[in-house]
Symmetry: C2
Subunit: 230 residues, 2 copies
């Protein structure tokens, strides 16, 4: 076995009995037919469950929405790539020549997929306890520093809760402008508070995105102006 | 313990040591603060993993996309409600008076949430093997009769594969019309095959839906006309 693979297994805290399973988990679809896509499916599902359970246990008072947002933050591609870089997974993923040339070993999606495939392979060989322990070890730094669940809410939700806490009416969102061809639509939205007439606007490629931006700006204005209404 | 709860546990094949955990799993949020929403989060995650593993093992040749679609079909609300009715879960869910009056015990969403919460509660008390066995027992009829993965693909994908198999060019989708206010937009899409100029159209509240309908109609025409090009 190469030194690279030995090092990876030390970083994982798991030693494969069947080295071919480890190699398959490291093989991106660009490198051949016997690749890690099915293992990635399995590992993704296990990781979702184990991280879900971890936030469930660590946040005993959190409501379901907070648990969902916290898990989504932990298992999104960007976070998985951070974890994958921590174990230097990019050094050992096996890519086709095209992906190699374009630096695929640095890409978030390839690193995240490889990490999930490793988790799937450990589960298949080692069982649930081994798979679960691996997930918890890999994500220990993230799980030990969970952010306040409130900070994960989207801007519209945070604005709504801020206004409700102050006994104020809910904001009204209005489309001010919508233009461009269907595949490159652009929206401008106004967020307005009926009681004092304050307004903010947001722009974006979807109505949803433009609304979020207008809400974020309104929230910023409210917090900046500090308690004019509170 | 009531006869109803004893019957439910026989149907589950699991007997709770802690009856309060069973009661919590059966309590909809409309019936009080100590409800099943957190357990539902946990049970949903476990069910996704166990059903994901089951399709992974039962379809050893299936690609990742097929596994994802098969799992999505099995864990969607509609299927969960079928399973919940099989164990007569509606008889024992605990609802607030509003939900009771409006017949909430018959609603798919309430039954599906209750089923997931039961799975979460069994896992918490009985561990992974008990939770996994429960999922596999509950979904055995569905898992024993998995459909052909190909039938689960969306119309655009099936049309594309049909054309590729016949060595024909890919379809072109064009927006023919787009009208109505932003919250009630309506799209009309044309699907066209460049080689023989055949066309179909689709309508819908989103571009995506209208495209799917136009693809479905084109596929229908191709199969009806049977091998004019094959």
């Amino acid at each position: 076995m190469s030194e690279d693979l030995a090092r990876l297994q030390r970083a994982l805290g798991y030693r494969f009995q069947d080295e071919s399973a480890l190699l398959r988990a490291l093989t991106h679809r660009s490198a051949g037919h016997d690749n890690n896509e099915r293992l990635e499916f399995l590992g993704d599902a296990l990781l979702n469950f184990v991280i879900g359970e971890a936030v469930f246990l660590r946040l005993p008072k959190a409501a379901e929405g907070d648990l969902s947002r916290m898990r989504a933050m932990l298992v999104r591609e960007e976070t998985l790539a951070v974890v994958a870089r921590r174990i230097e997974l990019g050094e050992v993923v096996r890519l086709g020549s095209g992906e190699l040339k374009s630096g695929g070993f640095r890409r978030d999606s390839i690193l995240a997929d490889g990490l999930e495939a490793l988790i799937g392979a450990v589960y298949l060989e080692g069982g649930f306890a081994a798979g679960r322990d691996l997930c918890l070890r890999l994500f220990a730094p993230e799980l030990d520093h969970l952010p306040d669940p409130g900070t994960l809410k989207d801007s519209k939700t945070r604005l709504q809760e801020h206004l409700q806490a102050a006994g104020r009416p809910l904001p009204e969102y209005t489309v001010l402008n919508e233009e461009g061809p269907p595949h490159r639509r652009s929206f401008r939205i106004r967020c307005r508070l009926a009681d004092d007439g304050s307004e903010s606007t947001g722009e974006g490629a979807s109505r949803k995105f433009a609304e979020q931006q207008s809400a974020e700006r309104m929230l910023h204005n409210l917090i900046e102006s500090g308690g004019r209404h509170a």
